[in-house]
């Protein structure tokens, strides 16, 4: 009988956690990705998966948070450094460069979930590991510029040299539990002492990965030894199934009304197949979806929308992923010269000919906003008053006529170059197998045909088109026309996607043989004024001045359209009615995931108070 009772109870759990949610003040989040490791891999050396970053928001609260309005908030420190409180100092160091000094003070009485004191020693430990020779970090530029000075157990200064404005966004540094990891780290340091980062890079990499791995596997984390400094701590991780987190009683931020009014347990359910995840939502066993869950099409599918009224809200959060078409402007390519793709009027004509508003309405129900520049509208630096290109095929035809194009016998434009007749046949590359892009491509091919431009589709799998010897080789005419893909429009925007030369560092961003094909300005656009404005903007710490510099840069960009901006992608979220403060915006928490304010996520029926409204940051099918 005892077995039967247990069986019945477990059956209910397995049958979809159907009784989770407000009934037991828990939250079940469905996701299609499982973190490979958590917590111990604090420099993301083993993995930098999106789901890892999302879940770790529950376990490691940043010293300074970044809320849904892209505002800094002091989480574990007493206040956010600003010039006004004299904790932030930008100092000229000559050559147009600046040094930034930030004084921070930890809140008094901070404790890890295991009861150990949280001090500057934990920050110093993080810094020491990050600075270790040959550490294969994914953001080496940060580690080259940052310096830490510890004053005492509570006070420390973080210095950036050279400094950029985005160094003031969010937390300037992180932390790791020195009391748990230092002993093992000392062994690793001793083993690495005689190794040369150039000659023994692989050995060093293995040593470091072994160190992080030791503290980040499900087996280790299930031992309960790894402490949390977030509102939750891991209670159980069953690989390929679920990750359970329960409240950390030592967490210093108490939400309105008391922590007991908010969710006490968060369960991440890993369902890799998004169709199966959709079925799980319909079955009622999921309270909310993570940032890595349903696809855009699944989010607005009839199966979901017809079954959710009254049960779930479906939100589409416009994010920072910028879908666009890059254009080859290297005139050493015959095709580029023939089609005059380096002429701004050609690019403007292409943009006028493409019905982006129609595309967004027809394919995305208007839930993904049309882009006018490469900077997301949600970025504080965005300038929305730039030249726009509404669908206007007549204007496109007129511009093309000015460039000497005349309709040929088959309706496709042609012109005479020397003694040759050139047809306006344009190569269009994108990632094969990406249904949305392939549909978009067909839509635009039809648009372009209407103005007399023939499109030659040349798609290949992403591993082919994003390989170094393709995407970076426009200068060698590996692709000669248009190339549709996406960039993440970073909050710490520096214009490097379209700079020829960064005047602060001297780096060239147009990939050619001369710079070993480095840089993201793959189409080869060059505008010295743009370079000057964006380089200056990146080291401008006065917000108004910086906005003005970037606004001017965007005006130039929108006039010249070095790439054709299409739209910003939206991420769908399904959230059960009554769940409050489970909110994502384009840059919430820095990455745009929900859970950045995990301590205040709760059910209204259990007394949780709503502070954040998803409607402010998202679109809905309603």
């Amino acid at each position: 009988m005892r077995h039967l009772n247990k069986l019945a109870a477990l059956w209910l759990i397995g049958a979809g956690l159907a009784f989770a949610g407000p009934q037991d003040n828990s939250l079940v989040v469905g996701t299609s990705q499982e973190p490979r490791v958590l917590m111990g891999d604090f420099l993301d050396v083993i993995s930098n998966q999106a789901i890892k970053s999302e879940i770790q928001q529950y376990l490691f609260t940043p010293l300074i948070g970044f809320d849904a309005n892209s505002q800094n908030t002091a989480n574990l420190v007493t206040e956010v450094p600003t010039p006004a409180n004299r904790r932030l100092r930008a100092i000229d160091i000559g050559g147009g460069k600046k040094r930034l000094e930030m004084d921070l003070t930890l809140k008094p009485g901070l404790k890890w979930s295991d009861g150990n004191e949280f001090t500057t020693d934990d920050i110093a430990f993080y810094y020491e590991v990050g600075k270790a020779k040959g550490m294969p970090v994914l953001n080496p530029d940060y580690w080259q510029r940052v310096r830490l000075t510890v004053k005492d157990k509570q006070n420390f200064t973080v210095t950036f040299e050279p400094a950029y404005y985005y160094d003031t966004y969010g937390s300037p540094i992180s932390y790791a539990p020195a009391h748990l990891m230092r002993e093992e780290w000392n062994k690793v340091k001793a083993a690495a002492a005689g190794l040369d980062p150039d000659k023994d890079a692989q050995r060093l990499n293995e040593l470091y990965r072994g160190f992080f791995n030791k503290f980040s596997t499900p087996q280790f984390l299930n031992s309960g030894k790894y402490p949390s400094m977030g509102p939750f701590r891991i209670s159980r991780w069953v690989p390929n199934s679920t990750l359970e987190m329960v409240r950390n009683p030592n967490f210093p931020i108490i939400p309105a009304g008391g922590a007991d009014k908010y969710v006490q347990k968060v369960v991440y359910r890993f369902i890799q197949n998004t169709n199966s995840l959709l079925v799980a939502i319909l079955g009622g066993s999921i309270d909310a979806t993570s940032s890595v869950a349903l696809t855009f099409d699944q989010g607005r599918s009839r199966q979901l929308t017809s079954r959710t009224p009254g049960r779930f809200d479906i939100w589409f959060v416009p994010g920072a992923i910028w879908e666009h078409i890059d254009i080859n402007k290297f005139t050493n390519c015959q095709q580029v010269a023939d089609l005059q793709l380096n002429d701004v009027r050609t690019r403007q004509a292409l943009l006028y000919a493409m019905n982006r508003e129609g595309l967004v309405k027809a394919f995305f129900d208007g839930l993904q906003p049309v882009a006018n520049t490469w900077i997301a509208p949600v970025n504080p630096l965005s300038n929305q008053k730039v030249q726009t290109y509404p669908y206007d095929p007549n204007r496109a035809k007129q511009l093309l006529a000015e460039l000497g194009w005349r309709p040929g016998p088959d309706g496709i434009l042609q012109r005479t170059v020397g003694n040759r007749t050139v047809r306006f046949e344009l190569e269009f590359v994108t990632t094969a197998g990406n249904a949305v892009r392939e549909r978009t491509q067909q839509f635009f091919a039809e648009n372009l045909k209407q103005v007399g431009i023939a499109v030659k589709i040349n798609n290949a799998p992403s591993s082919v088109v994003f390989a170094d010897d393709f995407i970076q080789r426009a200068s060698e005419c590996k692709w000669t026309g248009m190339f549709e893909f996406a960039w993440v429009s970073s909050l710490s925007e520096d214009g490097s996607l379209f700079q020829y030369r960064n005047l602060n560092t001297g780096a060239i961003f147009v990939p050619t043989k001369d710079n070993n094909y480095q840089g993201q300005n793959i189409g080869g656009w060059r505008n010295d004024q743009f370079d000057r404005l964006t380089s200056q903007g990146t080291i401008e710490f006065d917000e108004a001045e910086r906005k003005d510099l970037f606004a001017q840069a965007q005006e130039i960009w929108a006039r010249e359209v070095p790439a054709l901006p299409l739209y910003f992608r939206s991420n769908p979220y399904v959230v059960r009615k009554g769940l409050v403060n489970y909110v994502a915006s384009a840059y919430s928490g820095g990455f745009g995931y929900p859970g950045w304010n995990a301590w205040e996520i709760g059910w209204e029926s259990r007394g949780a108070q709503k502070r954040w409204d998803q409607a402010k940051y998202a679109l809905s099918t309603r």
């Binding site: 077995h3 247990k6 069986l7 477990l10 059956w11 759990i13 397995g14 049958a15 979809g16 490979r36 490791v37 891999d41 930098n48 040959g134 294969p136 994914l138 953001n139 080496p140 530029d141 980062p197 890079a201 692989q202 060093l204 990499n205 990965r209 980040s216 596997t217 159980r236 069953v238 690989p239 390929n240 199934s241 679920t242 359970e244 890993f270 369902i271 890799q272 197949n273 169709n275 199966s276 079925v279 799980a280 319909l282 079955g283 066993s285 591993s463 082919v464 994003f466 390989a467 170094d468 010897d469 960039w487 993440v488 970073s490 520096d494 490097s496 996607l497 070993n516 480095q518 993201q520």
Partner: protein
């Protein structure tokens, strides 16, 4: 037979070497490298920093150097680190993935055989009866049903539609493995029966999806094989000498009819251990198929190499076992 087995085992060494060279070369020749994604994700990364990372991952060396380094370590039992999971590729494949595949695909194979062999026999014995036609029709339906469709259909029916309409119908899980570990049983938190029950509950739909097509296949094979044997002279002789139909069928006909089935199953086992990528994906089952697919997409070469080399080894091994089984089940075959 012993000499033959030893000879065949020795022949496997150059075969596996050649297979590993081909697999490694094909993996290395894939377009792009593991750093492409990083380059896309971090526009600020410089050429020097990328070179340093290439050195750290050993990607700066020529293919043949990388291969022989891998081989040198592999023969000592070190299959390298998984770049994606941070653990050894062997641990990932053999501890974290193979057991799940054994459970799912092995169970599906056992159930398929347990159902298909009697049904195939019944169908053959009752050839052209209504039951035979019905079994044949169902077998063709099962055979033609794509598993990606059947899987989603089963999920929708048993996890959504039926429980929505029949409140007392249990809602099946939508995928994944149960949140119970064997350590829960050992620590006494969960009873053994409850543990088994949970796993059976989660396995039910994926095993069903995987079994349907196998049942259909083996049923058709069993039927065809038995029909062929039943029409042979020795069966007629057995009947003529007055043996009961039961004895004729089970002692004389069936043993002979099972020979091709044994071969078929033997050769199917490497495929079984290689996982069922579509079923595993639909039901979020962490098996070998998905591990291989994911490692190829993520260019996690050590994991892909470990898994594919293991499958090459299994294929060679089970070919040998199938050949040896011929001799066991068919006394007419002798190896020297």
């Amino acid at each position: 037979m012993f000499a033959y087995t030893v000879r065949r085992l020795l022949q496997m060494v150059p075969l596996l070497f050649a297979a590993s060279v081909v697999i490694y070369t094909l993996l290395a020749l894939q377009p792009g490298d593991p750093l492409d994604q990083l380059r896309q994700a971090n526009p600020r990364i410089t050429a020097e920093q990328l070179e340093a990372l290439k050195r750290a991952y050993g990607l700066d060396q020529p293919i043949y150097v990388r291969y022989f380094k891998w081989l040198g370590r592999a023969v000592q039992g070190d299959l390298g680190l998984s770049r994606d999971y941070g653990i050894s590729a062997a641990q990932f494949i053999f501890q974290q993935r193979l057991p799940y595949t054994l459970l799912l695909s092995g169970l599906a194979l056992l159930i398929s055989l347990a159902v298909a062999i009697p049904v195939g026999i019944f169908s053959a014995v009752r050839q052209y009866s209504t039951a035979d036609y019905a079994i044949t029709t169902l077998a063709f339906m099962g055979y033609s049903m794509p598993v990606f469709f059947l899987g989603i259909l089963l999920l929708f029916l048993f996890a959504v539609w039926i429980p929505d309409h029949l409140p007392f119908f249990p809602r099946f899980p939508t995928g994944g493995v149960p949140g119970l570990l064997w350590s829960d049983v050992r620590s006494g938190n969960v009873g053994f029966l409850a543990f088994i029950g949970q796993w059976a509950w989660h396995l039910a739909l994926p095993v069903l999806a995987l079994s349907v097509i196998q049942i259909a296949t083996y049923t058709r094979f069993m039927r065809a094989s038995l029909l062929e044997v039943l029409n042979q002279d020795f069966v007629r002789t057995a009947r003529a000498k007055g043996l009961s139909e039961r004895l004729v069928l089970y002692k004389h006909a069936l043993r002979n009819a099972l020979i091709p089935i044994v071969t078929l199953v033997g050769l199917a086992i490497p495929g079984v251990l290689g996982g069922a990528v579509i079923t595993e994906t639909i039901f979020s089952w962490p098996g070998m198929g998905r591990a291989i697919f994911d490692s190829l997409v993520a260019k996690d070469y050590n994991v892909a190499m470990a898994a594919l080399a293991f499958l090459a080894f299994l294929t060679a091994l089970f070919n040998l076992i199938a050949d040896l089984m011929y001799a066991v089940v068919d006394p007419r075959i002798r190896y020297t």
